[in-house]
Symmetry: D2
């Protein structure tokens, strides 16, 4: 049960609500986000919501049968919107494009990529400065200095930044230099990281786990939301299956299912979803037609020379063409509704 | 290695080729289809194809490094086409639509469905008369009498029939009443059935196995092709994974991958691919945008009363709308190439 | 609901039962096996079994909540036993060993294997004469002539035969030359084959499907049992997962789960379960300790020269040692109960 | 390539080695653990190890073709041993038993469990004070105060403690109160956590990821080892598959495969591996027979009342019986080698 509180609710009013819920053996959790205040009540018994519906301080009450609550479409039927400022936002029907290299490699690469994004009309640049690598002997990214350099160039050019945060200590370090924190597939259930990102005033994109279920992705989003941060994006990036002809199995079913279950925007990552350069555009376009609100993909001036993931990275010509085609697909999707 | 033979090749010429290949420790297999004659040679050693390239009776030679040969795009770069007659064909860019109930239930249902298909401009009707059911106590279909009834009605209305064949003995029985034999997901590796379908002069649609790999689907097609039947369709229908929010995980990656690996048309089955009525259209449209040459889906005049698979079956209104939208998607796909 | 009928039940008595069940909207199915007669009733409504419990012809009634009925441990609490004659049987605590090559290759190989089995005290020989192969160009087995040769040698030496049947037409052909029909992993849901094997008076071992669930294996067994053949063995042989360090993932959990759910004997196939020769004994022993009633594994006089599956095949020395160790494990398991 | 250095190696000698390797385009990494010093060299070119084999400071050189190096059995053929002091150690053939509740719940529960372990001759107690929970509204454990209380009681009774660490900041906090740090299945690829655990002077048990491969588990161990901590345990706890009859699919194949690939001890977790109380003992015993060096399982004085995981938790009577049976199994395993 989600009890939406009025902005002017008093601590005494909240205490009274909690007392009533306690008596009914509900456990409660206060949630205060930048957008509002809620009291989440979890319990098994019957409860007549009219008994508290007219109490002072209560704006609205929603019974949500899902185990996740605040991210459920059952209480918030209008899709959420994430606003990055400067006219860049991510919302139902808006087609947010995020492109860039797997790894940030240096100034020249950043400049070239930014130039390409501006020409292609893409406002958000992706790139990793901390890279999760299965082998401890692999390149692990340029780190915070790379991020500062990137931020300086991006900001000058009106480009927003999304980059992966791998641990709690990096949140503060990265905070002033990113516009969206990305939680990677290996960290989708790193609950401490999610808890801390709940306290942050920047949007968070959560990738589905390597073999995570759709529900687990929603639970992970619930962690961040209930921690206080409503600015959330869900990302389908393919799951691990027995099929080895592609890097992962892009679960296109997840797109309409997530859109139906949650009010949060859904982004697709076709680069990791199939892992084969020539087929990335097909998966990207299919995902938008299936309902994705945005696409995050890898592009590099010379994919063969990329430090990582070159086999699934588009060159700039392919990237520009894809961006144009995705806009056409979105236009058609909106006409067909 | 595929050695394409000239129409007028003599047995002596073939024997001479085989002798040469024998000496090089290649094993050979004669393949004679309605469209041509081939000698397939499998071996490991080096072989200079010029040594046989100019021999009499040889039309062309292709070295194919894949383990499947005749279905590979490496020798036949032009996409194949399957012609059902009466102007109905399945080919690259042609958008073959096949719709109908999970199970054929009776005359009224057939009539209603045929009427709907005609209105929606759909030329091929799907339906099962032999149903594979995990429990022996479930309805197993109307059998051959149902098929005859259906055929009579369909033929009168210019509608082609695709229906599942489950065992060798049904091939002859069903032969005169179907336009396409369907091999179901549980029979994809039923090699005896595939062998026998190689001898048939009707097209065959092979569904990917319940947890079949993309390569296994191509191998299964190779069975039918090398048995003598080139009229083949491949079908992606979702695979079994840990994710239970959908009936299967529709592997959209398989569509561009199959199209790149093989010259055969690729059909998508979104009904089994996601198993949730409301989301079937999204998956259907996404699959066409990703490269599918056709779609097979379930529709029924009253899905709630369908004998089987009702939860993933569209009603006729939804079906008509989907057919129209799919045509728009295909039009856009062709414009974007 | 399973209604066990008395041996002397009359058709009239069965009709009366059926009428009562019809009125309650139950569908019924007659099952007559070599061991008994049953009426299976499937329905959703409430039903007071006392209303038919004392009717003439009724021996006993069991309500079975599982979707499979006759193979469930819920009605038949004593484990079933399969008797092959000549003192060879397969039963709870009896440790049935079945060993031999993947493919039957010729007389010398058969003789050598039979000799080895006799020395090792193994009474059942496995081997394929029809081989399911993913590529149509691979060796497909010696066929019926190989089976006849094998049978002649085996019978002379008191060795029983288990061999895979791939299609309905082979059942009659193979019938006189096998002691156990094996249904392979690719045919677990070949329902026509299962139906026909229900009419046969020889035991049937059903392998779990390549990615079959435990319940699907039980349903497949229900097909054969309800077709009239109670002499059934279930076989765990590994499932397909994302893990590629082994050929399959041997699902050891399936052993105690199957034993709890069903009264049928459970056999393990460690050769396909792990696919790595050196580790086959570890998996074999573990499976017996976990509750398997028998083991089927691959052995060959010279595994490197085996026509197929050599990498997972034990040589005779390893096989003898394994057989001895398995007996020790079973002895300890029985002491620990 | 692993270059084992002599204890008295000088910085100058290491620099000289590095120069030679640099010239050959090898990248190098210094590794200093409590047990020794190594120089790890990663490169693709040919390299004649004799050119450095006799240099001063070099103890030995091993070429390891695996991508993981220090955890590979290819250079360290003798199994590693982890010593917890007070006569408690974990090694090949030693059968380390670790039992206890899922969650530490309070003093009475700790006392009862410790009493049980002493009676059953079990020296290591498991329990969680920080619990990873998919829902943010679930009980997340007693935290550090629970751990201190537990440690006080355990130490007094000669019982060692293993407990899960979920984030870097907990390492220092927990350090003085645990004997083994456990890395949970959701954190197997939390590389920052692994890096930090490399600096710790306490053993680390790493669970296989929820759908982690065997190689990924070895890579994760390589992180900790190359970070400086050789005291490592690998743990198989079941993987996520399509099969839902059990909580996870216990991958018994992983046990002999890990033992062959690595010199590190392998522990099995049958409680999470099957998730069904009645079948936990079968899986535990099977895993030891297959080669596990220890077992970690859940036990509770009253499983029905456990805060979490009750359905897979043994009561004390079952736990005592299992401990005895596991010792018998290990005894037999050693006799059979």
């Amino acid at each position: 049960m989600i009890i939406q509180l009025k902005p002017q609710v008093t601590p005494q009013q909240v205490d009274r609500l909690r007392d009533i819920l306690d008596q009914k053996k509900f456990t409660t959790k206060d949630v205060n986000t930048q957008k509002g205040s809620y009291l989440i009540a979890i319990g098994k018994g019957d409860f007549d919501i009219r008994s508290i519906g007219f109490m002072e301080g209560v704006a609205d009450i929603h019974v949500v049968s899902d185990n996740y609550k605040l991210v459920s479409a059952k209480w918030k039927v209008d899709p959420s919107e994430v606003d990055l400022g400067d006219g860049v936002n991510i919302k139902q029907g808006g087609l947010a494009l995020m492109a860039g290299p797997c790894s940030i490699e240096g100034e020249e690469q950043i400049n070239n990529t930014v130039e390409h994004l501006k020409e292609a009309g893409i406002r958000i640049m992706r790139g990793g400065v901390y890279k999760p690598r299965s082998s401890p002997y692999s390149f692990r990214g340029m780190g915070i200095e790379g991020l500062k350099l990137w931020h300086e160039i991006a900001q000058r050019n009106g480009i927003k930044i999304i980059s992966e945060v791998m641990q709690v200590s990096q949140i503060e370090e990265m905070h002033d230099y990113v516009d969206i924190f990305q939680v990677g597939a290996r960290n989708t259930q790193n609950y401490n990281l999610l808890d801390e990102l709940g306290k942050v005033d920047k949007p968070v994109l959560i990738k589905r786990g390597i073999s995570g279920t759709i529900d687990e992705l929603l639970y992970s989003a619930e962690y961040v939301f209930s921690g206080g941060n409503e600015n959330l994006l869900l990302c389908e990036r393919g799951i691990r299956t027995y099929e080895k002809a592609s890097r992962n199995t892009f679960d296109i079913n997840a797109i309409p299912i997530l859109k139906a279950k949650s009010h949060l925007p859904v982004i697709s990552d076709p680069s990791h979803g199939i892992g084969i350069r020539d087929h990335v555009p097909a998966i990207a376009m299919a995902s938008v037609l299936a309902g994705a609100d945005g696409v995050i993909y890898e592009t590099h001036q010379d994919p063969r020379k990329a430090f990582s993931d070159g086999q699934q990275t588009l060159n700039f010509r392919q990237s520009s063409q894809l961006a144009n085609n995705l806009r056409r697909v979105m236009k058609m999707r909106k006409e067909m509704l």
